[in-house]
């Protein structure tokens, strides 16, 4: 009987032991998986020459932020590591093993003072340079060039007001462009940011921090580029269906190249000479000019064609296409107007060569026709937008984004021929 009981007890103990062993293995597996996941996340942060890397500043303002964030990162990182190690040690060392409750004491003045004073000193140490940086970044009195930046679903417009700065000799007529914002290198540029519909946020990580663009408000942001090149940005405030495809690029050009770019933007309209482009002009006038402006384009009676996006689009605006092919991108800087090979050549050019390559614009050989063709054929299919007429009741029939125009392949070919001359 006794033997029998012991045997039973032994069996139960074996079962418990087996179960706890399985539970331990399962816990270890889960911990290993979680560790792998964390490692993956950690490694995902490693990238060489990432286009939107705040740790690679390319201008004075971004460098000012970088000079603050690096020491703060290290201070916070070291404190974080110490706290986690201490927590881990305490959790393991003093875990519940059935021991008696330790002696309970009420407060310890030296410890409490220390735990108050040390964080206070650390916070003060961080706050002083942080405040100095904030004031430094908010300065507008020393800027030399102004650009109005306007956000809307889902692209950015840049217009250069009439002013003495930016261009040698000043800007005599406003310039308007979208997607890419050329600015002169080594020049302190003031962006005046607005929105036409919902809240967006302008963020070019290599050049400065974020700044919200809010309807009815004008926010300012400094921007400066050290060397010629293209710097990617991204709308940083969720703004609807295609928020992820609302990008922008700042293009740094040396002063001479920027002057050339600005002069070219204000060149009078030249009617196409190529017969295909001439037919495309008619298609453009009939279809696209309702929303998109091409400055100087005239009707048959000689009067100017003025787009009326306020009648068709919720934001009341559509990109100005007067000099479309002087840009490298289209549709909210989401797709390249250049083929991958030509794009690489421009993006990876040395600062000395960059200006000349960029100013060449888009040539027939370098045109990324497949993407542009897809876009013109059925824009909402390529970039999700609210353009379904059956769902437009709340917006009074106005679209958000570009609708499919139902153009056939011949019309698209003619239109592309016309647009190719817009530079």
């Amino acid at each position: 009987m006794s033997f029998h009981r012991n045997e039973q007890v032994g069996t139960v103990q074996d079962m418990h032991s087996s179960r706890s062993s399985v539970a331990r293995r399962s816990t270890s597996r889960r911990a290993a998986l979680a560790g792998l996941g964390m490692l993956g996340l950690f490694l995902a942060g490693c990238a060489k020459d990432a286009p939107q890397d705040t740790f690679q500043p390319a201008g004075e303002n971004a460098r000012t932020i970088d000079n603050l964030q690096r020491p703060v990162f290290w201070i916070a990182g070291v404190i974080g590591v110490i706290v986690f190690i201490l927590m881990g040690y305490i959790m393991v060392r003093y875990r519940d093993r059935g021991q008696s409750l330790p002696e309970q004491t009420h407060g310890k003045m030296s410890l409490e003072l220390g735990l108050t004073m040390i964080p206070t000193l650390i916070m003060v140490g961080i706050a002083v340079p942080t405040m100095a940086t904030i004031f430094d970044l908010a300065k507008t009195s020393d800027t030399e060039c102004v650009v109005n930046v306007t956000g809307q679903q889902w692209w950015w417009e840049f217009d250069y007001p009439v002013q003495e700065g930016c261009v040698s000799g000043g800007i005599k007529q406003p310039i308007v462009t979208s997607g890419q914002m050329p600015i002169p290198t080594g020049t302190k540029v003031l962006l005046k940011i607005e929105s036409r519909d919902v809240i967006h946020s302008f963020w070019v990580p290599k050049l400065n921090g974020k700044k919200d663009s809010v309807p009815g408000r004008t926010h300012t942001l400094r921007m400066e580029v050290d060397e010629p090149g293209i710097f990617s940005g991204q709308c940083a405030e969720f703004c609807g269906l295609s928020h992820a495809r609302m990008r922008m690029e700042v293009v740094g050009l040396n002063q001479a190249d920027f002057d050339t770019w600005a002069t070219n933007q204000l060149e009078p309209y030249e009617a196409p000479t190529d017969p295909l482009a001439l037919t495309g002009e008619a298609t453009y006038a009939a279809q696209c000019s309702r929303c998109h402006q091409v400055d100087g384009l005239k009707k048959d009676d000689g009067s100017l064609i003025v787009s009326q996006p306020e009648l068709y689009v919720v934001s009341g605006a559509a990109p100005n296409l007067t000099n479309l092919m002087t840009r490298n991108t289209f549709a909210g800087a989401t797709w390249d107007l250049l083929t991958p090979a030509c794009r690489d050549k421009v993006w990876n050019a040395s600062p000395e060569e960059f200006g000349a390559l960029y100013l060449k614009g888009v040539t027939r050989e370098c045109l990324n026709e497949a993407e542009l063709r897809d876009w013109i054929r059925d824009a909402p299919n390529k970039k999700p937008m609210y353009t379904d007429p059956t769902k437009l009741e709340p917006s009074d029939g106005k679209v958000r984004g570009m609708p499919a125009l139902g153009l056939n392949d011949d019309q698209i070919t003619e239109l592309i021929a016309y647009l190719l001359e817009r530079k």
Partner: protein, 378 residues
């Protein structure tokens, strides 16, 4: 099985459901359907309640039937609810002919008093134990009464205080507000520093202060608020904008919103008969301003002239020939007259680019000749 009362409510519930379905398939209209479905749920709940309490009847088979029977309980206590219900009906009737707000208030009072009356009647006869009945009533209605009465109390105090502030003049309002805030602070401190004060004393003081506030508010509401001048808002009427403002009122209370002040696209100053524009980032006074098309931009006008002046924005000239004849429009927007030394904001939105206009976009001040700021809209 089902009691008489529960059958009645079940029937009503089924009828409401059928009504909702029929209405949904024939007429439509979300509001009515929602109301009928709500009625279905409420009637079903009442049916369940009646079923659960056996219509308040006691079985004759119950050994202590004569002791526990509802009929054996004390007579109904005094109740304020019929009075309140009558008040609600009165408000409903008066509101129907005067103010819709009174009708709404009447409906709320009727619903509240009706519910209270119903629940009190039921709870008084729930069992033969009056103490238990009171507890049942409290459990059911306290979660409703406390928030409603608290909200009503707060509303009465806030409304009364607002009437007081509207009765006294602007400077008096500041004094009253400061006095009351000080009183609350000092009172709170005294009560907190004397933990042994009797609860009754604190309640009494609170009641006296509350009643004083409400009665003062009522008196001042009856007497009427101080004279408040009505100030015209910015106008888009060309006749108003172009004249020198003889027909308009001098607005002494131009918006001073901090949010607008911190978000200016430009400001325009009239001084010594000269107009000058200033835009952040652009140095010195400018003869021109550039605004984005289709976006709202805030402009601040500062009148440093010796006379009241109006700030006017002429948004070009357009000809619409779509109807067969030329229709000329000259959009214009302006502020009200701004007193000397005053300032006023104007929020602008240009729908069309300036090059599309037959006349330039300009900022002018009627009465000040040869001064205009050119406006560009790309």
């Amino acid at each position: 099985m089902f009691t008489t009362g529960s059958k009645l409510f079940l029937g009503a519930s089924a009828l409401s459901l059928v009504g909702a379905v029929v209405l949904g398939f024939t007429v439509g209209g979300q509001g009515a359907i929602i109301a009928l479905i709500a009625a279905t749920v409420v009637f079903a709940g009442l049916a369940a309640l009646n079923f659960f309490i056996n219509d308040g009847n006691v079985s004759s088979m119950e050994p202590n039937a004569t002791v526990r029977a509802a009929a054996n309980t004390a007579p109904a206590a005094r109740s304020v609810w019929p009075l309140l219900l009558a008040l609600g009906i009165g408000l409903l009737v008066i509101g129907a002919d005067t103010r819709p707000m009174l009708t709404l208030l009447g409906l709320v009072v009727i619903a509240f008093a009706g519910l209270q009356w119903m629940m009190q009647s039921w709870s008084e006869r729930a069992t033969a134990d009056p103490a238990y009945n009171a507890k049942v009533r409290s459990n059911l209605l306290a979660p409703l009464e406390f928030p409603v009465l608290a909200a009503a109390g707060v509303a009465a105090v806030v409304y009364s205080f607002s009437r007081i502030l509207l009765w006294v003049d602007k400077a008096g309002g500041l004094v009253v507000f400061a006095l009351l805030a000080t009183l609350i602070l000092v009172g709170g401190y005294l009560i907190a520093s004397k933990p042994n004060l009797k609860r009754g004393l604190i309640t009494g003081i609170g009641a006296i202060v509350g009643l004083g506030l409400i009665s003062t508010g009522a008196v001042m509401a009856i007497d009427g608020q101080r004279k408040i001048e009505h100030h015209p808002t910015p106008s888009a009427e060309p006749a108003v904008c172009s004249e020198e403002g003889k027909d308009a009122h001098v607005d002494k209370r131009a918006p001073q919103d901090v949010s607008i002040k911190s978000s200016l696209a430009a400001h325009v100053v009239l001084k010594d008969g000269k107009l000058a524009a200033y835009s952040q980032g652009l140095r010195g006074a400018r003869p021109d301003l550039t605004f984005a098309r289709g976006a709202f931009s805030n402009v601040l006008f500062k009148n440093e002239d010796s006379a009241a002046r109006r700030f006017t924005v002429n948004m070009g000239q357009f000809v619409d020939s779509t109807s067969g004849t030329d229709v000329v429009t000259k959009p214009v927007s302006c502020t009200t007259l701004v007193e000397p030394g005053g300032q006023y904001f104007l929020t602008l939105k240009f729908e069309k680019p300036s090059f599309a206009s037959a006349a330039p976009y300009t900022i002018t001040v009627p009465g000040i000749e040869d001064q205009a700021i050119t406006v560009y809209v790309p």
